[in-house]
């Protein structure tokens, strides 16, 4: 309760600061300008990225990233002086998110997108909201703990993911003879592990825990090994609009400082609606502290 109040104070404080420079803010931001003209903010979301961004039973998008985006939209309402600003939800996939951001269809993307330097050429990111990395899921008793144990075995990888890149790089460095089965999405990768087409499935550890929690026999599977890659997630915003990006970063920094961020985190991850049961890691906790920039 105390935290919540602090959060409100922080946000209204931020709103107060923003109010001072409001006119200039909208003028210097093409994204805010078009949101103001349309009276609608177009929020890109994923459909099955549990628990970051997914369609609930009621058909509405929800999740950790979606909650964070709603906080940012509150601030956009203040900046565009439009308390009735509507949210239009636009479902995106890993194939459409960049194109839709580039052609102006979405104003922010709330999913589970890894922030990396190559991608910065095309889009901008707000502060890091989650940290994960590549690990292996395998059947208990298979004797697999690290990637080195996979020599001569079959691993399933999701097409075009940062995990695929990481696994192939490490395997090449170590001269491991691993057979790859490429899959289209996480559940198919999981199915390949379940039915024995593959001995392990490599993905972001948070997603692996999510898959295990949703599988029919959660006790049969394990997530093991060291992190084979570093994947910080961030909310995507259009390229080259520093005013707009700052608006989002201010909201996130305020929440990180007030502790509201961790509360939202706990709602979704500890144990969360899908019983994923991932208490905040020390790395992410530190990341929140580091990114809680002062005003």
């Amino acid at each position: 309760m105390k935290f919540k109040n602090l959060g409100i104070v922080a946000i209204s404080l931020a709103a107060f600061y923003a109010a001072g420079s409001m006119a200039g803010e909208v003028d210097s931001s093409f994204v805010l300008k078009r949101i103001q003209e349309r009276g609608v903010v177009n929020m890109g979301h994923r459909e099955a990225s549990v628990p970051f961004s997914y369609i609930g039973d009621d058909g509405k998008p929800k999740g950790y990233s979606v909650d964070l985006c709603h906080k940012i939209v509150e601030q956009i309402k203040v900046s565009t002086e439009n308390p009735d600003l509507k949210i239009n939800y636009v479902p995106v996939t890993s194939q459409t998110r960049i194109a839709l951001m580039a052609n102006g269809t979405i104003d922010l993307e709330c999913g589970s997108t890894t922030h990396n330097l190559t991608r910065q050429k095309q889009v901008d990111y707000l502060a890091t909201t989650f940290i994960t990395g590549t690990k292996l899921a395998s059947k208990k008793g298979s004797g697999i703990t690290e990637l080195e144990d996979m020599d001569g075995k079959v691993i399933a990888l999701s097409l075009g993911t940062t995990n695929e890149k990481a696994i192939k790089r490490v395997a090449e460095e170590k001269g491991l003879n691993i057979k790859y089965v490429m899959v289209k999405d996480h559940p198919q990768g999981w199915l390949n592990l379940e039915n024995g087409r593959a001995d392990a499935y490599a993905s972001d550890d948070v997603l692996l825990y999510g898959l295990i929690s949703k599988s029919k026999n959660p006790d049969d599977f394990q997530v093991t090994g060291r992190f084979l890659s570093y994947d910080p997630y961030g909310i995507m915003v259009p390229h080259d609009d520093s005013t707009y990006r700052r608006l989002g970063d201010v909201v996130l920094a305020d929440m990180m400082r007030s502790g509201e961020m961790q509360k939202i985190y706990d709602t979704w991850f500890n144990p969360g609606p899908t019983d994923i049961g991932m208490p905040i890691s020390s790395t992410l906790k530190t990341a929140f502290e580091v990114q809680a920039l002062p005003h």
Partner: protein, 240 residues
């Protein structure tokens, strides 16, 4: 457009190689699947025009099953469910024993699916031949096999060249669905490039141009064939 164009990415290693290898897999899947589709489709199509009720119903059943389930779903069924229906040792062999399991699954799936459509074309072609030809053939004492061999098939295959070209192009384009079971064909490779570089528009443009080029070559070749094969006495471009 708020997009950072970089066409250079298409000719940069390793992406250029990915596109070429993707095109190679697309052509390989399409060619192998077409062999199945054409052979099986012709057999099924002919079965549906014979007088034998058993053959007719087998043919009809085949067509109904394979054309009434979306290809995407069939791909999934072949890949994930079919091996589980086999005895365990065979299932394991299909899943891990054969070289390139994804490739062969995609080929079988696309081939059997397109066979149902080819069968319909063949049947329509044979049925479009006027009854008089068949009667004339039987009147001069040809056996049923001979009627098909010398009269019905030569005529019908010539009239169905345009739709058969469509079917072949269909298989070529539908091969893009093989990516859903992990075959790294052209569309899959462009998606890979998209994910790695975030330069999706460039990659998709390259794929579009490649698809159009291959199709154009096939269509030009088939237009020549169509003209050569046109049957005098029917309305057709060739006869005009």
């Amino acid at each position: 457009m708020n997009y950072n164009w970089d066409w250079g990415v298409l000719v940069t290693a390793p992406y250029f190689g990915w596109i070429i290898s993707g095109l190679g897999w697309t052509l390989a899947v399409a060619a192998c699947a077409w062999l199945i589709a054409f052979t099986l489709g012709s057999i099924i199509g002919i079965m549906r025009t014979t007088d034998n009720p058993v053959a007719r119903s087998i043919g009809a059943g085949y067509v109904e099953v394979f054309r009434n389930i979306p290809l995407l779903v069939q791909m999934f069924l072949w890949y994930f469910i079919f091996p589980e229906l086999l005895p365990e040792a065979w299932g394991t062999w299909v899943k891990r024993g054969i070289p390139l399991p994804e490739f062969w699954t995609a080929v079988v799936c696309l081939g059997t699916y397109t066979a149902s459509r080819v069968a319909e074309q063949v049947r329509a072609g044979i049925n479009a031949i006027s009854l008089g030809q068949k009667q004339a053939a039987m009147a001069i004492g040809l056996a049923p096999m001979q009627v098909y061999r010398y009269i019905l098939l030569p005529v019908s295959y010539r009239t169905i060249i345009p739709p058969m070209t469509s079917e072949f192009l269909g298989i070529f384009k539908n091969s893009s669905l093989a990516l859903t079971i992990g075959v790294l064909e052209l569309t899959a490779q462009t998606r890979q490039i998209e994910e790695y570089t975030f330069q999706g528009f460039e990659a998709f443009t390259a794929a579009t141009i490649l698809y159009i080029t291959v199709t154009f070559i096939v269509m030009t070749a088939m237009a020549v064939v169509e003209k050569k094969m046109a049957i005098p006495g029917m309305i057709s471009l060739g006869a005009k």
